[in-house]
């Protein structure tokens, strides 16, 4: 996945919260505004750290001009345009930026060129003016709506017609200033001399200024929103209106230093940037003293080149060498002692009623912060050791500190001493709570104890179990004491009785971190890993991550008295509306909306302290204090600004199969076959860009919105063709949604093969192809079979020819012999010897004819059928037996399957049959012979049964005494058996003397052969050319 969003590398981005406790000098003044700064530099994607211009366009983007190109910033990513990737820009060296009333961005270049950017397109603007092509100082619009360009010599050129107006110069070289009044009057300070332009005319500005010294020049000017003009001259800062000073702020904090820029924010604060002194904030109309930010007080920036205020009220400073600086009021401060806690974690904090803030640390002792000063207490100040786990102020205002390993201490004067009294407090004190009765509740590893005036009341058991590791306690208005343990659940001490709660009572975790008794009687329980629980009216409810809680480790709960709970967690500070929490706990809403404050809001870390009490506190001024592993944090709930500005949105890029779509026509038509879609969108909120969240939906593909979190791209793969609309909406850091969001309708065109007509013809083609293949395969097989058949037929033709030759030639001659050899009709004239010879010739010829008949029958392939075999055997038996004078009975099936019987089988079976009948006729002395032919499975079975005298099959073939003429091995039976063996058949003889003989031939037939005739038809159809018409008969 290619991400186009540059991740902010930790460490590459400088965060620093600047806590300027300038109020120390004037305690009566309202608290100094606290600012959070965020810095982006080259490492974060800026083209250069020297910025010439910063401007926010109305579409929400922040534009930064540098000599290395123009950068568009969305809070997360800088998109850089320079003459390399954007030739239309003409020149990468950008000297000024201006958004015209029509929304176009005008870009002035160092070489005097001007470029205009509108609707995503850059185009050079020709200035047809007769003037020196110098660096463009600024671009603006006059009271007539004309665009003017001003160069470094403070000459103004009208873009429309190239009219050039020059302003009178003063004596202070290169001291430039420009501002535009809301009514369109343009003010120019040229070398320290002020003039203005109205209705296309330059007028010298004449102010009735009291000359105090010879420095009579203008250091900086700034149009005020109320129509006045702030003029900084001669070291003074005054506002003029209608020729008179309407507000005099006296001496400017920057003295007589020239200003690079001066800007009045929407709240009326003046921001003054200098070239070497950093920048100043001036608060006109208040008694808030000016603030100064420079390298000396930790800003690392002295050279300010441009100031802009965004739509959310944050200030953007373009610096000369330190990149882009964002400055915004922050409710969070991180006060730290000069030794910065010696690098140790702050564990516990207790704001005392006298304004002092007590903070205990892990190994750096106990700190007291009061009236801007820090005091530190350690071993030398009476504490047992420097591991201070708990600190509390009792009802009498005494400060108690609980130590790890050395018990409880009481502050006396400027030293701590061990807790007085006869009873000794256990050495490990993780929790302290001022009791309503003036005493102290102390949580220890061995249970709960109540300490008052040296007396200790121990609560070691509850519901029969030992109480262990008490970490937090809270006392409600009825005097009920709730206490939480690490791993043993929650306890409740009321009327001297202790009740215990654990998971079975609905607790989400038995590691209790903090307890908070709310005014409505509810007990809020922060747990380690189980989020938040609420015990109210006998019912336990859980709010954890599933319910929208950002973190499940809640170390402390503070009520800001403005309807919000502030909770410290391992994921920063969490702010949630109590009402929303209660609704969620009541089951009225499934989730609760929470805001999180993290390092981008000024926290040094998101890991807040937990597990000890107190792990947070509220000071008298309403500020909330939280210990963290990297110092103390204080939040001013009153300074929390809810960002009501929905983030403007932009769909920056659409990538289809990795290619950027540049087509702007609506609806977008995506060519067919594209499958991978990437939508790069952004939400333009700069208060906390990382907290801008998105939801998107591809209409036509999905019904529900996809929760994208902070992800700024959506990817879809393998979309089917159709009509779609991509919608994306964004919420700012305070959860304010830009409901309309942005949408992009588009059409993914179908591939030609995805169209109905193609799919239809494809189906047809598939069917055709399949049938073609079947046809081809059939044809191939047929051809194969045909070849085989042809070979077979060649053999058969040969056999048929032999049969015909024998029949025609030999047969005819033999017939002649049989005919001629017969006794003449008149035997009288023939000698007896001749007549006898003739008879023998005749008989021999007849015998020969019969043999030939058998041969021809066997050879002729026409008789290769079962039926023919049956017929032949039938006829032979009939004729032969009839001649032998033996009754012949034939039992042949009328219908025989069309199965081929090879010539070999027919020939051998016939000869065996003939031999058998011969035996019957010659030896059996039978009156009747019965021939039965039947099919058993795949075997042909031929039975020859006679009713003759029979024989003993055991004795007869074995013994020499047996008749040599009947079924003896050397005689017929052996021949019969051999013949049957040749055709893989067998011959069985069943006989007994006087009981006839049965000879059984069993011959296997080939499995199956399709009828010859259809085959021949197919073959002939194959032999003819496909296009040939069927022959007509």
């Amino acid at each position: 996945m290619v991400t186009r969003i540059f991740p902010i590398r930790p460490g590459a981005c400088l965060f620093f919260a600047c806590c300027l406790m300038l109020a120390a000098s004037g305690a009566a003044a309202e608290p100094a505004p606290n600012y959070f700064f965020r810095n982006w530099q080259v490492e974060n994607g800026l083209p250069q750290n020297k910025l010439c211009a910063v401007v926010q366009t109305r579409d929400g983007y922040l534009w930064v001009g540098t000599y290395s190109g123009l950068a568009r910033f969305d809070g997360v990513r800088f998109q850089v345009f320079d003459d390399q990737n954007t030739p239309e820009l003409g020149n990468s060296r950008v000297s000024c930026l201006y958004e015209a009333p029509d929304g176009a961005l005008w870009i002035g270049h160092e070489d005097g060129g001007v470029t205009r950017y509108q609707d995503g397109q850059f185009a050079p603007v020709e200035i047809r003016a007769d003037w020196a092509s110098q660096r463009i100082y600024c671009i603006t619009t006059d009271d007539a709506g004309e665009i003017w360009v001003m160069n470094e010599s403070a000459s103004l050129a009208r873009v429309r017609d190239g009219l050039v107006l020059t302003t009178p110069a003063g004596n202070s070289r290169r001291l430039m200033g420009f501002t535009r009044s809301p009514n369109g009057t343009l003010w120019v300070a040229h070398d320290g001399r002020l003039s203005f332009m109205e209705r296309g005319q330059i007028h010298p500005a004449v102010f009735n200024l009291p000359i105090t010294n010879n420095y009579n020049y203008v250091q900086g000017i700034c149009a005020s929103r109320d129509g006045g003009l702030w003029i900084n001259s001669n070291g003074k800062l005054r506002k003029w209106q209608a020729g008179a000073v309407v507000q005099d702020l006296g001496a400017a904090p920057w003295g007589v230093n020239p200003l690079i820029c001066l800007k009045e924010t929407r709240r009326g604060i003046l921001v003054a940037g200098t070239a070497s002194q950093g920048f100043y904030l001036v608060f006109p109309g208040t008694n808030q003293p000016p603030l100064h930010f420079n390298q000396i007080n930790g800003m690392q920036v002295d050279w300010i080149r441009s100031v802009a205020e965004d739509q959310e009220g944050d200030l953007w400073l373009g610096t000369g060498g330190n990149g882009l600086l964002e400055m915004r009021p922050s409710p969070i401060q991180t006060p730290a002692p000069p030794d910065h806690w010696r690098g140790r974690a702050v564990l516990t904090v207790c704001p005392a009623r006298n304004g002092a803030i007590w903070a205990g640390t892990e190994g750096a002792g106990l700190y007291c912060y009061q009236a801007g000063g820090w005091r530190k207490f350690g071993y030398t100040n009476g504490l047992g050791n420097s591991y201070v786990w708990s600190v509390a102020e009792d009802a009498a205002g005494q400060i108690w500190a609980g130590n790890w390993g050395s018990g409880l201490f009481l502050l006396a004067g400027d030293r701590f001493k061990g807790a007085p009294g006869p009873d000794r407090v256990p050495p490990i004190v993780p929790a302290l709570l001022a009791a309503r009765d003036g005493g102290l509740w102390v949580g220890t590893a061995d249970g709960l104890l109540h300490y008052q005036a040296g007396r200790i009341n121990r609560f070691n058991t509850g519901e029969g179990r030992l109480l262990r590791d008490v970490r937090t306690m809270a006392e409600d208005e009825h005097g009920t004491l709730w206490f939480g343990t690490a791993g043993h659940g929650l306890g409740c001490l009321a009327g001297g009785r202790i009740r215990c709660f654990d998971r079975r009572d609905g607790l989400s975790s038995e590691y209790i971190e903090c307890l908070h008794c709310d005014d409505d009687g509810a007990l809020w329980i922060g747990t380690f890993g189980g989020g938040l629980c609420r015990w109210k009216e006998g019912r336990m409810a859980v709010i954890n991550r599933h319910e929208g809680l950002p973190n499940s480790i809640i170390g402390d709960i503070e009520d800001d008295d403005r309807g919000y709970f502030w909770m410290s967690s391992h994921g920063g500070l969490i702010r949630a509306a109590k009402a929303a929490l209660n609704r969620c706990a009541d089951g009225a809403s499934p989730t609760v909306a929470c805001l999180t404050y993290g390092v981008n809001d000024g926290l040094p870390t998101i890991e807040c302290a937990e597990g000890l009490q107190p792990a947070g506190g509220k000071s008298a001024d309403g500020r909330l204090w939280f210990p963290t592993s990297k110092g103390l944090v204080v939040v001013d709930p009153n300074a929390v600004r809810v960002n009501l500005q929905p983030p403007p949105m932009a769909l920056e890029e659409v990538l289809v199969d990795g290619e950027r779509v540049t087509n702007r026509l609506s609806p977008l038509r995506i060519p067919a076959g594209r499958s991978h879609f990437e939508f790069h969108y952004t939400g333009l909120s700069y208060v906390a860009p990382e907290k801008v969240t998105f939801k998107y939906r591809l209409e036509g593909f999905e019904q529900a919105w996809v929760e994208a979190g902070a992800k700024r791209q959506a990817i879809y793969s393998f979309l089917p063709p159709g009509h779609y609309a991509f919608h994306v909406i964004a919420a700012n850091n305070d959860g304010i949604w830009n409901e309309p969001g942005v949408s992009l309708p588009f059409i993914l065109l179908p591939r030609f093969w995805q169209t109905w007509w193609f799919q239809f013809s494809g189906a047809v083609l598939t069917v055709l192809a399949a049938s073609g293949m079947v046809w081809f395969e059939t044809r191939r097989r047929m051809r194969h079979r045909l070849e085989k058949l042809e070979r077979q037929q060649a053999v058969e033709r040969e056999r048929a020819r032999i049969a015909k030759d024998i029949h025609d030639d030999l047969g005819a001659s033999l017939t002649h012999i049989t005919m001629l050899s017969q006794a003449p009709p008149d035997p009288a004239g023939v000698p007896a010897a001749v007549a006898a010879n003739l008879d023998r010739i005749h008989d021999t010829a007849c015998e020969l004819t019969r043999s030939m008949d058998e041969i021809v029958w066997a050879v002729n392939p026409q008789h290769d059928t079962l039926d023919s075999l049956a017929g032949y055997l039938n006829r032979f038996a009939n004729v032969y037996m009839s001649a032998a004078g033996v009754r012949c009975r034939l039992d042949f099936p009328l219908q025989l399957p069309a199965r081929p019987v090879t010539a070999e089988v027919r020939h051998n079976l016939f000869l065996a049959f003939k031999e058998t009948l011969h035996n019957v006729a010659s030896h059996a002395a039978a009156a009747e012979v019965c021939v039965t032919l039947q099919l058993e499975a795949d075997d042909l079975v031929l039975l020859v049964t006679d009713n003759g005298r029979g024989f003993d099959p055991v004795q007869s073939p074995a013994g020499p005494s047996a008749k040599p003429d009947r079924f003896s091995p050397g005689n017929g039976l052996a021949n019969i058996r051999r013949r049957l063996l040749e055709i893989k058949g067998r011959c069985e003889v069943h006989s007994a003397p006087g009981r006839g003989t049965t000879v059984k031939f069993t011959v296997p037939l080939p499995k199956f052969s399709p009828p010859q005739t259809p085959n021949a038809e197919i073959v002939s159809s194959l032999l003819t050319t496909p296009a040939a018409p069927a022959p007509r008969v």
Binding site: G811, T818, P825, D853, R875, N878, L894
Partner: protein, 224 residues
């Protein structure tokens, strides 16, 4: 029995084998009660002149070049309904013999049949006898059992066997000799002959009607 006993039997011979034809003609001519009315070397020749000879019996070689003997019977029989056709063959080729019988022949003789036997058979045929071997009988039964679409019979029963005919045929197929059939069925020898003659006729009618059916079906095919 339409034949007058005192009349000599007119025999015509069709055989391409000239020597054999000559011998047969000689035999017939010399024998008492026979006279040879014609000799033909081919069916083609016989078709032209044989009907004019008005033979009582025709000896027809099955295996002839050109038109076969079977075809000869098929063409001549309609012209000479009273003439008995006896096939001559060297080999007992059941299929050919059966085809000839279907065409209208009423028996067959092997060419090597002794002279006296041959003459006896001719006389027998002339007198209404009908030789049929068990093998042929089997084929005839098959022919009548074959499930072919029966054409609309012009005369009912003209092409179906009567139970008695079927009985005779089946006994023949099972190897019974004529005399054995006479014994088994308690009928006279001439009756057996009559049955068999009738069977031959029905076979002929059947084959003819089937040919007609084939032809008409074929015509329809061509029209359609």
């Amino acid at each position: 029995m339409m034949k007058k006993p005192d009349m000599s039997i007119a025999v015509s011979i069709v055989d391409d084998d000239a020597p054999a034809r000559g011998i047969l003609a000689e035999w017939v001519s010399r024998a008492e009660g026979f006279h040879c009315v014609g000799q033909h070397g081919s069916v083609e020749a016989a078709l032209a002149t044989l009907p004019g000879e008005k033979p009582s019996v025709v000896l027809m070689d099955i295996n002839l070049p050109g038109l076969s003997g079977i075809e000869g019977v098929r063409r001549l029989k309609p012209q000479l309904p009273g003439t008995q056709f006896v096939m001559l063959t060297v080999y007992e080729d059941a299929d050919h013999i059966f085809a000839a019988l279907q065409a209208g022949a009423c028996g067959y003789l092997l060419k090597q049949t002794p002279r006296l036997e041959l003459l006896e058979s001719l006389k027998d045929v002339y007198n209404g006898g009908s030789p049929m071997t068990s093998n042929i009988a089997r084929k005839v039964v098959q022919a009548f059992q074959r499930h072919e679409p029966a054409p609309a019979p012009e005369q009912p029963g003209s092409d179906t066997l009567s139970p008695r005919e079927r009985e005779v045929l089946e006994l023949l197929a099972r190897g019974y000799l004529y005399k054995e059939i006479v014994d088994v069925l308690k009928i006279s020898r001439p009756t057996v002959n009559t049955y068999i003659r009738r069977i031959y006729e029905k076979l002929h009618v059947r084959s003819r009607s089937q040919a007609v059916a084939r032809f008409s079906r074929f015509s329809l095919d061509r029209i359609g």
